[in-house]
Amino acid sequence: MSHFLLLRFRRIYTVSVGCHATGEDRCTSVAIRMDVDYRPTGMINCDVQLCVGCRMCEVACSVAHFGAVSPALSRIRVAKLEGIGIDLAIACVGCAEKPCLQCAVDALSVGPSGQIVLEAEVCIGCEDCVIRCPIGAVGFYEGEPLFCDLCDGAPSCVDVCPTGALVNAAELAPSLAPFMELSGPSARRRADYTSTVSQPVRDSWLAGWRLGE
């Protein structure tokens, strides 16, 4: 089991991720109350230390479902915090809160492995679920939301991942409570989520360095 699964926070956690290379807080800055037991895992889980940001998972997902390549077709997306060298692949984590289920037309339900199931003929394409997902893990293409469906039990992203960063941990349903206030476009929310959950890894890198000497 990766060390990422062992991370726990139970405190008020303020994250300010900057680029120490520029000396400025240009990347992102998020203050989040991490006062619940939070484990960043469930469904498809990505180890932030192992993720190299190659986006092979996006390609595989896109090809598996649509027979073509475009990130807009992918149910997993890689957030890249380029100024600090962090990459993290994000798909639906099957969170405990499931804010996406507050669907106006009841087009969404939970499947046997915890995945969100869409009734396409009921969906009106309002994008409400896309906006509600705090970590930007719901895609949207040609009028329809895209949820990770675990590829019927053999996720193509996990299969293709060259570093082993991706694992299928469908049995877990983590809480995303600390992230419910994240706002902005999906890509922004993915980046903000990533900057928080990658902080321990960043800290471990920086521990060996006293910058600016």
Binding site: C19, H20, A21, T22, E24, R26, C27, T28, Q49, V52, G53, C54, R55, M56, V59, S62, V63, F66, G67, A68, V69, S70, P71, A72, L73, R77, A79, K80, L81, E82, G83, I84, G85, D87, Y141, P162, T163, G184, P185, A187, R188, R190, A191, W205, L206, G208, W209, R210, L211, G212, E213
Partner: protein, 592 residues
């Protein structure tokens, strides 16, 4: 005959008009169109940094597909450094995004009267004000644009202060550290006052025959994963080559004065990995993920690859890895070509050691071997054209003229483009490649790596001559370089990473034929692709001849021709460049 006709976006920065048109019908992607566009549309003798120059950014039909590492864009224009055809590719994620936006080639003409950036969001194209970005380095520019536009997934190709200030070896960079580095394409972009290109794309790349395309992709992937260098490339990337070059006796230590470097252990791949690398990084869709992210006390960033690693240490007589990594990070941010910058600093250090240049000639900067001051301050000065930086921004050939003939005799450039970090005398295929290729002093046109392997069977398969597999033999090198150039043009049109397609010999014309045929749904044979590459090579040669190139330009710096390698494993080795060039011309069917 129509092979693939892509969508071209023509952007006139003077009139701010944008038009969509088709590319040439007989190309196969990126470089194949760019070079033809420049030959067709550019008037002879154009001043490279004037609005009359044309900047092409090309991707191809296979870019952003399932094919491993189909990740490069090619930037082409008349080079402000060489005066000949300039082009350079960058890996990363910008090229696939451009492809997904539905564009195969961008052609920039004219020049804006103030700083602008181009914004592409699928079909929407806008020229936007970039006055707030002027003066920012490449990292700052990219992150500022992500902030401004509220989307950190946007792909940005930008220039830094070096490009803005028309440094003749300025780069265009995406993903902060993936550079189109050679021949000064960033300066051309700067001369047009185009600070960045920002792209968001969502259009799928869909093969006409999915099963056949999948098979071609799987074959390519298998070639990579079964390669004997696969694991070491994963672990060290290009930095792994330093050991081999030391063993071959072709290290450029102290600016080619010796092939021996006592403190190699301090600067080689293992030391870099142990002391500075915190994780691996990857370009688009690559299972080799050979790049690495570094931390130093000065800065952090992606890289360095072999050229920056060796250029800022061994070549400059420094065993300080951290300083070398910091210099690499700095040139990436400032937007300078690491190869040209390192070569120029090392050359200055040799001139100082020879008593030709004094510290007082370079604003009092300490130019002793390995000088921390020189490695940290000269890139800044060059990028901003401050003090001596203004002269050095012209490249070593122009700068040397100011210091006189003994300084000129020590430069290592061909056609004005600075040489890589190896001694061409002891690797004769590379020596020939540096002498004859269209860019000038450059090893990456195509990589004659077969000569480093000793693999005679592979040499016979590719060029029909076992001699080509031996780096010290002069036989068979014309054919080898011709093959390597063809594979280079193919890779620059498929837009593959050449470390994989060329250096690992993991891709060839048969596989390319399969990939193109399956993607496009029309049969394209290996022979057709070979012929297109021959034609592109000839177009580039014609362009350069039109700009005044003569056979006398196809040579190596005199310093490598009039004496042998002084010491080390290849001691006494000389190179007969005339014989090699004759052999190559014969292969090409050219007159000497």
């Amino acid at each position: 005959m129509t092979l693939y006709q892509g969508t071209r976006l023509r952007v006139d920065l003077t009139s701010r008009e944008v038009a969509r048109e088709r590319t040439q019908p007989n190309g196969i992607g990126a470089r194949s169109w760019n070079s033809a566009t420049l030959l067709e549309e550019l008037a002879p003798g154009v001043e490279p940094l004037s609005p009359d120059n044309i900047l092409c950014i090309g991707v191809g039909p296979l870019t952003g597909s399932e094919l491993i590492a189909s990740c490069r864009f090619i930037a082409s224009a008349k080079s402000p450094l060489t005066g000949f055809l300039g082009d350079s590719g960058a890996r990363g994620f910008f090229a696939p995004e451009l492809r997904w936006s539905g564009h195969d080639q961008l052609v920039f003409t004219g020049a804006s009267d103030r700083w602008v950036y181009l914004f592409i969001d699928d079909d929407k194209v806008e020229i936007r004000d970039a006055s707030h970005l002027a003066g920012l380095d490449i990292t700052e520019t990219t992150l500022q644009l992500h902030d401004d536009l509220g989307d950190p997934d946007l792909q940005v190709a930008a220039i830094g202060p070096a490009g803005e200030n028309l440094v003749r070896y300025a780069i265009i960079s995406c993903n902060l550290a993936r550079a189109a580095g050679r021949t000064g394409m960033g300066a051309v972009m700067g001369s047009k006052r185009l600070k960045a290109i920002v792209v968001r794309g969502s259009k799928p790349v869909r093969p006409a025959d999915p099963e056949r395309f999948k098979r071609a992709c799987a074959d390519f992937r298998a070639n990579i994963e079964n390669h004997r260098e696969f694991e070491s490339r994963r672990k060290y990337g290009t930095t792994r080559i330093m050991d081999s070059l030391a063993k071959f006796g072709v290290l450029p230590a102290f600016h080619y004065r010796t092939a021996l470097f006592d403190e190699l252990d301090k600067v080689k791949a293992e030391a870099l990995r142990r002391d500075h690398v915190v994780k691996a990084k990857s370009c688009y869709n690559c299972n080799v993920y050979c790049s690495r992210y570094n931390l130093t006390r000065y800065s952090e960033g992606e890289g360095p690859e072999y050229e920056a690693q060796a250029g800022f240490t061994v070549k400059c007589g420094s065993s300080d890895m951290e300083l070398g990594v910091a210099a690499s990070n700095a040139v990436n941010r400032l937007g300078l070509d690491c190869i040209s910058t390192a070569e120029i600093i090392a050359w200055l250090m040799e001139c100082r050691a020879e008593g030709i240049i004094a510290d007082s000639d370079v604003d009092g900067i300490d130019l002793s071997w390995g000088s921390r001051e020189a490695l940290l301050e000269l890139p800044e000065k060059i990028a901003r054209r401050e003090g001596i930086g203004d002269l050095l921004a012209g490249g070593s050939k122009r700068a040397a003229q100011a210091f006189g003939s003994s300084a000129e005799a020590l430069t290592a450039e061909v056609k004005g483009l600075e040489l890589f970090s190896a001694d061409p005398r002891g690797i004769k295929g590379y020596g020939l490649m540096n002498a004859v290729n269209s860019r000038g002093g450059d090893h990456y046109r195509g990589e004659p790596t077969i000569e480093l392997t000793g693999d005679e069977a592979l040499a016979i398969k590719r060029v029909g001559d076992p001699n080509a597999a031996h780096r010290l033999k002069e036989e068979g090198k014309g054919a080898l370089v011709n093959y390597a150039e063809h594979l280079g043009i193919l890779s620059d049109s498929v837009t593959l990473c050449k470390n994989i397609s060329c250096c690992m010999d993991a891709f060839d014309f048969d596989l390319a034929g399969e990939a193109y045929s399956a993607l496009l749904g029309q049969e394209i044979s290996a022979q057709q692709l070979w012929d297109v590459c021959t034609e592109v090579g000839q177009i580039e040669r014609d362009f350069n001849i039109r700009e005044g190139l003569t056979p006398q330009d196809d040579t190596l710096p005199l310093r490598f021709l009039d004496k042998p390698i002084p010491d080390g494993p290849a001691k006494g080795t000389t190179i007969d460049i005339n014989r090699l060039v004759r052999d190559y011309y014969k292969e090409k069917g050219w007159e000497a």
